[in-house]
């Protein structure tokens, strides 16, 4: 893992509007920084940045390095990114995030039931993040640059993006599965819930090994620390088991609550409509 993923650009060149697919609404969350499709030199520079980051990490990636990798002059680079290295990295992150959500949107579009869409989200998100060359290298060697984005208030922001992204899928698929759609706020809560699961289970998807934590202090080179710095894809089987066991019952309960609230008669929620 890590250094081997150099030449790949794992996020496909995708028009974000394709991702609307079977949704009827844009899949890329409004909360993301804007990233207009890059063409020509700009695209070359961003691709070169990704290759350079995947091989050398962030601290060892200067504008000059990227210019060389992209086979462009430094002057061209400064013209494209007058804000320098900071602007370049911000643009790179914005593009990768936009591509991630566009890819996820297309992949989730084909999922039929609520369980399908939830399980596929876990697998697709974890797979994309685990396979991203630049992210893998920076996370493993410069974790202080990545980890603040997935913990404390950084995690709150990330979960809000997932909640917004998943809402339309969950409303639609819950209607198909339970005969009744989740209310938007409940769908957002469910989206946040799935975001938590995806990010948590990327560290040791199949459960922690039986390492008795004898000394209370974990260290960087510890078996435990490696689980955080080298996240893994959640397999389809594992995702379906987690979702089926721990998530769907709670969602069924939420939909059931709506029905009871709306009518004095007891409604029972079918397990599967189709």
């Amino acid at each position: 893992m890590g250094t081997a993923l150099v030449e790949r650009a794992p996020f496909t060149e995708t028009d974000a509007s394709d991702a609307a697919g079977s949704l009827g609404s844009g899949a890329v969350p409004a909360g993301l920084p804007p990233s207009p499709p890059a063409t020509g030199s700009r695209a070359r520079v961003l691709d070169a940045t990704g290759r350079r980051l995947a091989r050398f990490g962030l601290s060892k990636t200067t504008l000059e390095d990227v210019a060389r990798e992209a086979r462009l002059s430094r002057a061209t680079l400064y013209r494209l990114f007058p804000g320098g290295r900071d602007e370049l990295f911000a643009a790179f992150v914005a593009r990768e995030a936009t591509r991630l959500f566009a890819d996820l949107g297309r992949e989730l579009g084909g999922a039929r039931t609520l369980e399908d869409v939830a399980a596929r989200f876990l697998t697709a998100l974890s797979g994309h993040l685990a396979d991203h060359g630049a992210l893998a290298t920076v996370l493993e060697h410069e974790p202080e640059l990545v980890l603040p984005y997935v913990s404390f208030s950084g995690l709150d922001r990330m979960l809000a993006l997932f909640a917004e992204f998943l809402e339309p899928f969950l409303v639609d698929r819950s209607a198909r599965t339970f005969g009744r759609g989740l209310e938007p706020e409940d769908a957002r809560r469910a989206g946040e819930w799935l975001g938590r699961l995806a990010l948590s289970y990327m560290a040791c998807p199949d459960g922690l090994p039986d390492l008795a934590p004898v000394p209370p202090g974990p260290r960087r080179d510890d078996a435990f620390s490696r689980m955080v710095l080298r996240p893994a894809r959640i397999t389809e089987d594992r995702a379906r088991a987690l979702v089926g066991r721990f998530v769907v019952p709670g969602l069924r309960h939420l939909v059931g609550k709506q029905l009871v609230h709306e009518s004095p008669l007891q409604h029972s929620v079918p397990d599967q409509v189709q």
Binding site: P143, L145, R196, G207, P218, R219, R245, P249, G250
Partner: protein, 187 residues
């Protein structure tokens, strides 16, 4: 003053961090605060400053969770453990002066250390919940170990990042625990 040198070192280093932050706390500061020589410090922490800082953070983290365990010791059932535990943890973090100060001033020095502890913390919490859930009838097909692992991961995720939830609101935390943590576990 505790006779244990290692504990004195941890306490002394923590005092330095409280006063001047992580980045400004040197090995010399730590040794002086504990009243020991650098040589003694290296004997206990051969990995030097990095190891010492990591151990101080882990030690404080463990104390935090031991406090939580005490807070829920009398809870009659798993649901109450989770509700009271999550509320106490959220309160504990919000009111932790040193933690909040470090998150504001030196997040890049503190957050990675805390995040790297998370699998270890999941292990601790899994053991804790395994015991409590073992007393509980579970839904068919749900194994105690896997359920405990799930609850541990989710609880840890909520503690530092409440997301859309107001974790100071008892009614909301009850709803959270019932819909997202317990719904898949109980028959």
């Amino acid at each position: 003053m505790p006779a244990d040198v290692r504990t004195r070192l941890l306490e002394g280093t923590y005092e330095c961090i409280v006063r001047q932050g992580i980045g400004a706390t040197s090995l010399e500061d730590a040794a002086r605060a504990a009243g020991v020589s650098r040589a003694t410090l290296y004997r206990h922490f051969p990995g030097g400053r990095d190891e010492l800082i990591g151990e101080v953070i882990a030690w404080q983290t463990l104390r935090f969770f031991e406090g939580l365990a005490e807070a829920v010791a009398d809870a009659p059932d798993v649901e109450t453990v989770l509700v009271e535990g999550i509320m106490a943890a959220h309160r504990g973090i919000e009111e932790h002066v040193v933690l909040q100060k470090l998150l504001a001033t030196e997040p890049e020095l503190l957050i990675p250390q805390l995040t790297l502890e998370s699998p270890w913390l999941v292990g601790l919490l899994t053991s804790f919940f395994s015991e409590r859930l073992g007393e509980h009838p579970l839904r068919e097909g749900v194994a105690v170990g896997e359920a405990a692992d799930y609850v541990a991961r989710m609880a840890l995720s909520f503690i530092a990042s409440p997301g859309r939830w107001d974790l100071s609101d008892h009614a909301q935390v009850v709803e959270l625990v019932r819909s997202e943590l317990m719904a898949g576990l109980v028959p």
